[in-house]
Symmetry: C2
Subunit: 582 residues, 2 copies
């Protein structure tokens, strides 16, 4: 079912890739060192193909099964402009932006496309939409920026009920700032940039900058337990979220089918098992988050990102650990392994021998120190606060870096990094066009296992590449530090452009996830579970932990109307269905 294309009620990404329609693609022409890098690592000539955009008209979109009664109820609740059943909006809301999503959508493999996309404009409208959907026994899938990469936005294959995608994009306001408590009440549908713009205008920041920042929302961050790149200072979203409202099913037998959970803002509490922490990470299975009280901070007086080089990753990891246990309290700490360092250097615009990050004088110095240039690792450490704090913190960090044999190379590379930090998904789209599926997996461990899980995961991926018979590449960085450990963020690509390349990709992805499980990691540090990671949940939080989550979901949503199948899977999730070949 389709209707005339009209102005969408909210911003949205293009149906076949990252970013808005018309965003500039990755400019390989400006990166002279990248094609040889890709040829070396993946054996692919990335200049060989012309890019042709897929056309929606070429794809067969299944008809909507939305019935008249529910349609009327939705229309009367949110108005005609905010109920969409046209092909484009339905396809946009079919998937997130994982590589599997992109591959499928470009091939016209749409799965269970939502029957309707609804755009509520208030908490009351969300409740009315859910009330109507529960009475009609429809399925509700909340939708924020659409950047999810763990298959949390797609309906279950074969879902017989009407599927309603609830796009929160109209609810994008910072409603209130409590300047004394440094908390702000923000609507769940606010995208990162829109929210920061509203906060910055009054001198505030949330300090939450995940890689998906351009296309993710406050509600999405909460629902997936997101973490931003400056979490070392500002905390994970779980720390930042101090109160919230969520529309959810009422108790069985109530006259109304829905109720509103309201958790007023608190710095801390001892009121039983934390309901706030149950909503965090619930991925739509408990309800639809409508607004939240979030910690905000005055924009820091001083801010800078220093770059450092280490002779190897071991030295960088040890320094990261010591910095995390020191008084320095940086706002960001990133250490790339040798592979990622090489990748970063290959993405420079300039044509210096080695990179845009280090010049020839530095190279000479490194060689003189006896460093193997194939093993060097770049690190970025961000500092924020009063000028005195920044000065002190830098002195603490510099001392630790030197003790691990590293060297400070100043602010230049950090400034560049800061400007480019949201560009990676465009490279991924470009590589996919070249027949190279690439994606990311991240995990956290105690510090005592950071090296082990890094080395073993790289080894497992390399073995998986070999098993598939395709060239592959994996790289990693420390992305978030805590007292007890760190998150390491792996990016991997495999040079298979064939029709079977998702089986190839799955084989590698499974090897990576299994390595996480075997070496003290978690299924995900901040991307969530969705369907993609649900096969590993029992290994991560033990069968008893999954049992507890299952009881929670069954108790709150006995009709399984709320994004069923995510986190705790009742059937067989996508990636495990191929597990026979693992």
């Amino acid at each position: 079912m389709s209707q005339n294309k009209s102005k969408a009620p909210a911003k949205y990404q293009k149906w076949w890739g990252w970013g808005a329609d018309g965003d500039k693609p990755y400019a390989v022409a400006n990166k002279p060192k990248f094609p040889p890098f890709a040829m070396d690592k993946l054996g692919v000539d990335i200049l060989a193909k012309d890019l042709t955009e897929p056309r929606l008209a070429d794809i067969d979109v299944p008809a909507s099964i939305l019935g008249d009664e529910l349609r009327e109820q939705l229309l009367s609740t949110v108005g005609a402009d905010n109920v969409r059943t046209d092909d484009e909006m339905r396809v946009v809301h079919s998937y997130g932006k994982g590589v599997r999503d992109l591959v499928r959508v470009r091939r016209g493999i749409l799965g269970r496309v939502p029957d309707v996309v609804v755009y509520p404009g208030s908490g009351d409208e969300v409740q009315a939409v859910m009330e109507a959907c529960l009475r009609a026994d429809a399925v509700l899938i909340p939708y924020g920026g659409g950047s999810n990469i763990v298959a949390a936005l797609e309906a279950e294959p074969g879902e017989q009920r009407v599927v309603v995608s609830v796009d929160m994009g109209r609810m994008n306001k910072v409603l209130e700032i409590d300047e004394q408590a440094e908390i702000a009440l923000i609507q769940a549908g606010a995208l990162g940039p829109d929210m920061e713009e509203q906060l910055n205008a009054k001198g505030w920041t949330l300090g939450h900058f995940p890689d998906s920042f351009m296309w993710s929302t406050v509600g999405g961050w909460i629902a997936t337990r997101s973490t931003g790149s400056q979490s070392d200072k500002y905390g994970d979203i779980a720390d930042i979220t101090r109160g919230l409202e969520m529309v959810m099913p009422a108790a069985e037998g109530s006259e109304q089918r829905t109720q509103v959970l309201s958790l007023h803002p608190l710095p801390s509490y001892s009121s039983g098992p934390s309901v706030r922490e149950m909503v965090l990470g619930s991925e739509g299975r408990l309800g639809i988050i409508t607004q939240a009280w979030m910690q905000v901070h005055r924009i820091a007086e001083a801010r800078e990102i220093q770059a450092y080089f280490y002779p190897n990753y071991d030295a960088g990891l040890k320094a990261a650990e010591l910095i995390a246990h020191s008084d320095a309290k940086p706002m960001m700490l990133r250490v790339s392994d040798a592979a990622e360092t090489e990748f970063s250097m290959a993405n420079g615009k300039k044509s210096s021998t080695k990179s845009h990050y280090i010049n020839k004088a530095m190279q000479k110095l490194m060689t003189a120190k006896g460093w193997n240039l194939e093993e060097i690792c770049i690190s970025f450490v961000g500092f924020e606060g009063s000028p005195v704090h920044v000065r002190y913190a830098k002195s603490v960090v510099n001392k630790i870096v030197r003790a691990q044999g590293g060297m400070n190379v100043g602010k230049g590379p950090g400034t560049l990094f800061d400007q480019k930090k949201y560009d990676i998904p465009y490279i991924r789209d470009f590589l996919l066009n070249m027949g190279i599926p690439a994606d990311v997996s991240e995990t956290a461990t105690p510090w005592s296992r950071t090296k082990e899980i890094h080395d073993e995961t790289v080894k497992a991926a390399e073995q998986a590449f070999a098993e598939t018979g395709h060239k592959g590449f994996i790289m990693c960085h420390v992305s978030h530090s805590y007292h007890a450990g760190a998150c390491q963020y792996f990016t991997f690509a495999v040079a298979d452009g064939s029709e079977d390349n998702m089986a190839t990709y799955d084989h590698v992805k499974r090897a990576v996830q299994q390595s996480f499980m075997e070496h003290g990691g978690t299924v995900s540090h901040h991307h969530g579970v969705g369907e993609e990671h649900s096969p590993w949940m029992e290994q991560d939080i033990s069968p008893a932990g999954v049992h507890i989550q299952r009881k929670l979901f069954e108790g709150v949503d006995p009709g399984k109307n709320l994004n069923p199948g995510k986190i705790v899977h009742d059937g067989k999730p996508g990636i495990s269905s191929n597990s026979a070949d693992a």
Copy 2:
């Protein structure tokens, strides 16, 4: 049912009051200013009565209904020494140490005394005990240090099933320290001092020092979402706890009735609703925590507690807020209101006109500044870390204090405070002997409501005192600071030694709790819910929040064998049963 008194398998507090048998009582003779203070505030001559210890022999202890089959199973699991059915151990395990508990136990009002006290020595034994109890449809109540003050340790009145108190005191070891990740694996039954002793011996500390420290355990802290006095640096127990094991019921239809939840240690994760945060604060309703991976820290190089005076509480609150938002990052920040400042001064040993905290020269200085000595407020700020950090942090704090009109009075009072910080429960016991029930209630709010909730709660308590016709006293301090707000800790006493004094106490307690609800607070910041606070849960986390907790408990423990009635009450908890007079 009783048996010969033998050496208890674990440390325990005396049945009728705080601390071990033979602990020195509050030494009023050394506090010349306290009797006039008590006469002034409460109209009671606290030197008038002789202390007589209650005798267990005077109390009628109901017989145990433990049957032979379960007894045999328990004996064969943990051995004869670790199964106790004698009166003393059963009475010790009947209640926590709230003032209501002490009043009841001294009057021989025992309620539903546990039928047996079991002391497992390992996680396997805990599982075997729970397995036997679930098969026998018995009730399990986990027991740590016994210091709970929210009625979380008592069986429901009229409970027809066998009640088993599971005392974790034999499981008191630090099993392992991961020096790289700075986490330690600690058994749940370890009391504060025993645990710190084991950690300190290797140069480590947990940094968790609640007022109950001497008589509370790792498992109890987790089960109640405890917070220690140095949480500004070390975090709440929820932050400190990185992994854990818990014995819990298996899914219905399983061959075994029990299973073990195992959450391996992680710095952070995105694996669905946080199961770790469901166990935190579960007060025995989901299972029995057996051991946990806890963050530890190297004992700080430098440590000091500075004292400050403010002309009034408003100035102290504003300074606390500014310190919390600064770079200073103290380990502790405490500000007493004028009433508590006066109480502290009245508890000094020396006979200087005003107190042991300020001398005459200081008094003159304050008077010269135009301060009203009735309004002055004392504050303690603790600093820890490298000497450079401590120096910097002090300079930041001193600047903020001065800007709010406060003054630094050096390290002396802080050192004294540090030595005496665990003594308050002995004063409470002493006052109770004098016919003055006293207890504490704490709550947290955003900074924007700290002054409001303080002033309104004091007003509500004073009105409640007047309504009861008894003199009363209430005082408060800021005990824990966060980015978004603070905890304020109220202590109140009412001069009613009559047989009806629990109705008087309840009237005041209800007024305090209701004020928390009306002014942005939470039912409890770190004492938990138990039965005592359950009547306010719907006002705190909304009816939908209680619904979620109820579904969680029902799902995990459908037979209601695990500490039923706590947090979410199915019947009518104690304190609300008098609510007609509220």
